[in-house]
């Protein structure tokens, strides 16, 4: 059953990854990417990392990919121009692909030759062991606390930087001040008058 689920998820990840590259429409590409993320989360579930799986879906599928989709949907893309750039960048792309393949071969090779297969094989949690979340939390906030805090700080700086870059003060904007509106009483805004016939009121 687990083997079947693994091959299902893995083959969908690979297929949707390939389709993400080959599909002509960028919006379709993003949607295939989302499918790949989703099935990667399924793979995480299979090795017993349910917290990572949930985070993958929440962060990547739920937030990052939505923003991707948001941006790509609004892009005005000229397909002919994209095709023209393909041949120009082909050598660079092939080089990158080659480097990646060699890296993967080296990685798997050392993993095999060092006999790390048994040591890192997925094991089910023993009965009564603390859950995934507790173990991760205990590690993150004790051993890796400085790295964790540093990562948070980098993200904060990036966020502030992005806000500063896009912030501009525009003149002539009438901002809504909710507190003012709530504090406004009928006496400030209305006036009772009894004009004589034919006189009218001045405004």
């Amino acid at each position: 059953m687990q083997i079947f689920a693994f091959y299902l998820f893995a083959s969908i990840v690979l297929a949707s990854g390939a389709l993400c590259i080959f599909s002509r429409n960028p919006v379709h590409s993003v949607l295939w990417l989302i499918l790949a993320f989703f099935n990667a989360a399924g793979l995480m579930l299979l090795v017993g990392a349910e917290f990572i799986a949930a985070l993958l879906v929440i962060v990547y599928v739920g937030a990052v990919a939505v923003l991707f989709l948001f941006v790509v949907m609004m892009l005005d893309i000229d397909f002919a121009e994209l095709r023209a750039g393909f041949m120009k960048n082909l050598p660079l792309g092939l080089l990158l692909a080659l480097v990646l393949v060699v890296e993967i071969i080296f990685g798997v090779g050392t993993w095999q030759s060092a006999g790390m297969g048994e040591a890192t094989a997925a094991v089910g949690l023993p009965e009564g062991a603390p859950s995934n979340i507790e173990q991760l939390g205990a590690l993150l906030y004790s051993k890796y606390v400085f790295l964790f805090e540093a990562a948070g700080m980098i993200l904060l700086v990036a966020m502030v930087g992005a806000i500063v870059l896009t912030l501009r003060t525009r003149g002539g904007v009438r901002k809504q001040n909710v507190a003012d509106q709530v504090a406004r009483r009928p006496e400030d805004a209305t006036r009772n008058t009894q004009p004589e016939v034919g006189k009218g009121v001045e405004l």
Binding site: H28, E50, V66
Partner: protein, 352 residues
């Protein structure tokens, strides 16, 4: 049921499969019925507040109105605009509907009455509810028309904005309960206040979060007064503009299933889920099945949803963003800070 089916000729694996399938149907089919009836309730409440009668023709008191509507859309022709992206256009309502059903897997209806009692239940809910936006966004883009597209962009921004503060609110509940498992969260509320009241919501520290969560759940389901995705005065019918027949009905069902889910979450996280309100034995209300209490609480929250829909005018888009980012986000962040401080002091005492 799982053990029983596993002990029959089906064997361990196939028995589990059949039992789970049966349990899924046992949740999904009554849910569809509940959605049909809750649409009727919604219209009745809305009508009563406007001094109208509401649906009263089909069946006794108009009770069968939703089924008549369902039959009507079922018999209509599915129209696909010629310039639409056909595959995605048909996929979008299916996504909305499926995602709305998925989250119910971890909702505990009573003590042990839960399909998947996983220990990351709340994270699962967050993950699934963050998927809900795709149905709307894909529908808006695939329709290839202006109003749905505007609606899709609004939906994406709105759901992301409110998910952030919903996440923080859930964290403060999790800090109190010490678990992500929904059943354990309900159980930890038993006798929470002076050993008497079964609710986090009446805890002075969590009450503001209960209110914020109720409002944020309205925004998250794009319900009044935050239904900018289908603001009919601006966007015709929003992302549903180009949809007809069953594809429209799937949006409709998914939307209400999501609203019911949010009502259930309000009840489970803050108001004691399947537990009776007070933890006392001299009233024989522990004899009432827990599911009745849960449904009663869900119904109460749905009434609030309808009430708000009938009375509160729609927010403007910038007001919506202001509420999400400038009020709810700082407030819920502050509350995570307060709650975690309280939990630390409660557990380890004051540092002297």
């Amino acid at each position: 049921m799982t053990e029983f089916l596993q002990s029959t000729f089906l064997g361990a694996e196939l028995g589990w499969f059949v039992a789970t399938l049966a349990l899924i149907l046992l949740i999904a089919l009554p849910l569809m019925l509940a959605v049909a009836m809750i649409i009727y309730v919604d219209r009745k409440v809305w009508a009563a507040m406007a001094l109208r009668r509401g649906p009263n023709v089909v069946g006794p008191f108009g009770l069968l109105q939703s089924f008549a509507d369902g039959l009507k859309v079922f018999l209509q022709e599915t129209i696909i605009p010629s310039s639409a992206n056909k595959g995605l256009f048909l996929l979008a309502p299916i996504i909305t509907f499926t995602v709305a059903l998925l989250a119910w897997a971890v909702i505990p209806f009573g003590d042990g009455m839960v399909l998947a009692n996983i220990n990351i239940g709340l994270l699962y809910i967050l993950a699934i509810s963050s998927l809900g936006v795709y149905g709307v966004v894909i529908a808006g883009w695939a329709s290839n028309s202006k109003y749905p597209f505007f609606s899709a962009m609004r939906a994406a921004a709105q759901m992301i904005s409110y998910e952030v503060s919903i996440g923080f609110i859930l964290i403060s509940v999790v800090l109190f309960a010490g678990t992500f498992n929904l059943s354990d969260i309900v159980l930890s509320q038993e006798g929470h206040i002076f050993g008497l009241v079964n609710a986090y919501g009446l805890n002075p520290l969590l009450f503001p979060m209960a209110v914020v969560f109720l409002i944020a759940s309205m925004a998250e389901t794009a319900r009044h007064p935050f239904d900018l995705t289908e603001a009919e005065s601006e966007l015709v019918a929003g992302y549903q503009t180009e949809y007809s027949s069953m594809s429209f009905a799937l949006f409709w069902l998914g939307e209400y299933a999501n609203i019911l889910l949010m009502c259930a979450l309000n009840a489970i996280l803050f108001w004691g889920g399947w537990l009776p309100p007070l933890d006392v034995d001299w009233i024989p209300w522990f004899d009432i099945p827990g599911i009745v209490w849960l449904f009663g609480k869900m119904f109460f929250f749905f009434f609030i949803f309808s009430w708000v829909m009938a009375t509160v005018p729609r927010y403007r888009y910038d007001q919506l963003m202001r509420l999400g980012w400038k009020i709810f986000l700082p407030l819920s962040l502050l509350w995570v800070f307060l709650v975690s401080g309280y939990v630390m002091i409660d557990k380890f005492g004051l540092p002297l």
